[in-house]
């Protein structure tokens, strides 16, 4: 924790957070394989860079796969963290007065009192499990992004969290704040150097979407076969606010378990979760989302497409909790299992808590590509393997309304690359 001067109340709150985390440091998560977090040391410092161009070529190419580009003309702001050091953070001139981007520790120094009161461990509990605890106790930065009230930023804001060493844990704490009426697209890529073998990424993300604000958050993950990932995300959406979460995982991972929770506290607030997941090699993937529909007229939709291959195990979860009569939400998860050694679970979960008028529904399906669809394409002259590949690409390539072109292209490209590799 940086050396900052805070009020007694804030100091007491930080002490509470620490105490809660200390008590939870051995607490296994409710879902996902347990990890011995004591095996990893904390990531090291890295050198700052003057421009994204000076990133190593290999690093640039890796992060490009998750939508992070060193060509900043396509972006409104960038944050690049290497291991534990924010090596680059910049807002493009045109957006200078609209966006703030910095590390969370810097933000604590600047806005300590306000941070602790409004956003610091407010959407995620520090004692949820050992992964929240390790971040609360041994935080290694993370990004802070704030978009000012009423500012609509069309060009995406990009953030990259990069790990370049083996046997370490990167424990980041990210905060995104969209003030009332603000709009932004945030693309985040989490990547590791191709030489990295084992490691852990524990990431806390707390997002606050103000009244009438709209946050589109797109995350493309590129991990490695021996890397474990435990993100913990909480989102709070106020009146007429919209939160759209797009998640793409196209690379093998040792295990990932995440279950972001969106609280739609404001009337007419909306949350949408779209996810595209490829289970490859021995990956253990346990992903889903929970939406709590609290505000009058709140809405939510979660769409998941999962393709599992090799020896992967994939859990696709979705939970909707209706707490108001006028809410409406739908889950749609479909999976294709492409290997006899792979396992998939689709686990939709609906609850109406004291809300007899809540309309909650789901469709979950796990089934192969129908042979008649493959033959249909073949009657037009397409060889069988190409037909299967086209249908699989179509299956995962879900329509994401309102997705900016630049993100669409990024996802298409990532899917294209992966399906080429998978062939």
């Amino acid at each position: 924790m940086p050396d900052i001067r805070l009020s007694e109340g804030a100091e007491a709150r930080l002490a509470e957070i620490r105490a809660a985390a200390e008590a939870a440091i051995d607490k296994p998560a409710a879902l996902g394989p347990d990890i011995d977090i004591t095996r990893f040391r904390t990531v090291s410092e890295a050198d700052k860079i003057a421009s994204l161009d000076s990133l190593q070529r290999q690093v640039k190419e890796t992060v490009l796969l998750s939508g992070f580009t060193s060509d900043e003309s396509e972006r409104s702001a960038s944050y690049f963290q290497m291991d534990r050091t924010p090596i680059y953070e910049r807002v493009q001139k045109a957006f200078d007065d609209a966006i703030e981007i910095m590390s969370t520790e810097e933000a604590l120094k600047l806005y300590g009192e306000e941070m602790v009161e409004k956003w610091w461990w407010k959407a995620v509990a520090p004692d949820k499990d050992k992964y929240t605890a390790i971040v609360a106790l041994h935080q290694t930065e993370g990004y802070f992004i704030r978009v000012k009230a009423g500012r609509k930023v069309e060009k995406p804001i990009q953030a990259c969290l990069f790990v370049s060493e083996s046997d370490v844990s990167q424990n980041v704490h990210n905060i995104i704040i969209l003030e009332d009426g603000a709009e932004a697209n945030v693309i985040t890529g989490c990547n590791i150097h191709t030489d990295v073998k084992e490691g852990l990424h524990a990431g806390i993300s707390e997002f606050y979407v103000g009244k009438g604000a709209k946050l589109t958050f797109t995350m493309v993950h590129n991990w490695a076969e021996d890397f474990s990932v435990r993100p913990r995300t909480g989102i709070v959406v106020e009146e007429d606010g919209v939160y759209i979460n797009n998640y793409v995982l196209l690379k093998p991972v040792k295990s990932i378990q995440a279950f972001p929770v969106a609280k739609l506290v404001g009337d007419r607030s909306t949350a949408v979760f779209n996810s595209i997941v490829y289970g490859l090699k021995d990956s253990v993937i346990d992903l889903g989302s929970e939406t709590q529909l609290i505000g009058e007229g709140s809405r939510s939709e979660a769409v998941a497409r999962t393709v599992s291959m090799d020896r992967s195990t994939v859990y696709s979860r979705g939970r909707l909790i209706g707490r108001t009569n006028s809410c409406k939400a739908h889950l749609d998860c479909r999976g294709i299992v492409q290997s006899a050694e792979s396992t998939q679970w689709a686990i939709p979960d609906l609850a109406s808590e004291g809300a007899p008028g809540a309309e909650l529904s789901h469709e979950a399906a796990i089934s192969p590509i129908a042979a008649e669809e493959i033959y249909y394409l073949m009657t037009r002259g397409l060889p069988k393997d190409e037909a299967i590949s086209m249908i699989t690409r179509g299956f995962v390539n879900i329509d994401i309304p309102g997705l900016p072109d630049v993100l669409r292209k990024q996802i298409d490209k990532a899917i294209e690359e992966t399906s080429k590799e998978a062939m």
Binding site: Y375, M378, T379, R380, G381, K384, M390, G394
Partner: protein, 257 residues
């Protein structure tokens, strides 16, 4: 119609086909020359779709006897896509919906790769594809939309032998005219006789499509055999007044079968 000693475009010889344990086709003989349009009539369950699906090579249709030659080449052992690339195309009666694959992409595939904008525009004008182009193919398409989508794919593919499985079923009169126009465009080019190179085999129940398409020969497929051959319109008249049973017993049929 050529009398040269070259192989006919399609030659079906003594074809026996079983689906599961059941024999559906019991010795079908059919020859279609370059430029000819044939019509296949017959009661439901008589094997009309089985014949088309066997020609394109769909799985589940087992040839137990006989053979199918395309330009003299035995199709046995050729995959569905290989037959398509040889020049055999099919418009399905009820094509399957494919989630995530757009009609625009299907047209591209049928065109042998990518269809350019001009080609798509021309098909759009001809068949009023509109918003269907960027929808998942056949997903929630109405009867007429599904037929127009099939015709668009056929026109992009331009097969030498075009098979149509009940192009008018479940379609209103306006759409029959559009579908008929597309079949004509495909089979007859600009309507000039010397351009008549493509051949067609059309399954029809009602014969409505023949108001828009000129067919050369009609056949009645009855009990797994081609029982009858003749002028398509005469055959339809005969069937509509006397039914299939009487039709295949009539002197005309007995003579030509």
């Amino acid at each position: 119609m050529t009398s040269e000693p070259t192989s006919p475009l399609l030659q079906v010889e003594n074809l026996h086909v079983s689906v599961g344990e059941r024999e559906i086709l019991r010795g079908v003989d059919l020859t279609i020359e370059e430029g000819e349009t044939h019509v296949l009539l017959g009661p439901n369950g008589g094997g009309k779709s089985t014949l088309l699906n066997t020609i394109v090579g769909l799985p589940g249709y087992r040839i137990t006897e006989g053979r199918i030659l395309f330009r003299g080449t035995d199709l046995d052992g050729l995959e569905v896509d290989e037959r398509a690339r040889l020049g055999i195309g099919i418009a399905f009666q009820r094509p399957p919906a494919v989630r995530g694959v757009k009609l625009r992409q299907m047209i591209g595939v049928a065109a042998g790769g990518v269809a350019d904008d001009a080609q798509i525009d021309a098909l759009d004008t001809e068949l009023s594809l509109g918003h269907m182009l960027d929808r998942d193919v056949n997903m929630g398409f109405s009867g007429g939309e599904a037929k127009r989508s099939e015709m668009a794919q056929m026109l992009a593919q331009m097969p030498e032998l075009a098979l149509f499985d009940e192009p008018e079923s479940g379609v209103d009169l306006d759409n029959i005219a559009v579908v008929g126009g597309a079949i004509n465009a495909l089979l007859k080019g600009e309507g000039r006789v010397y351009e008549r190179k493509r051949s067609g085999l059309i399954i029809t129940h009602t014969g409505h499509i023949l108001e828009f398409v000129n067919a050369d020969v009609g056949h009645v497929l009855y009990n797994g055999r081609l029982a009858c051959k003749g002028n398509p319109l005469d055959l339809i008249d005969e069937i509509s007044s006397h039914g299939y049973d009487k039709c295949v017993e009539c002197a005309l049929c007995q003579t030509f079968a």
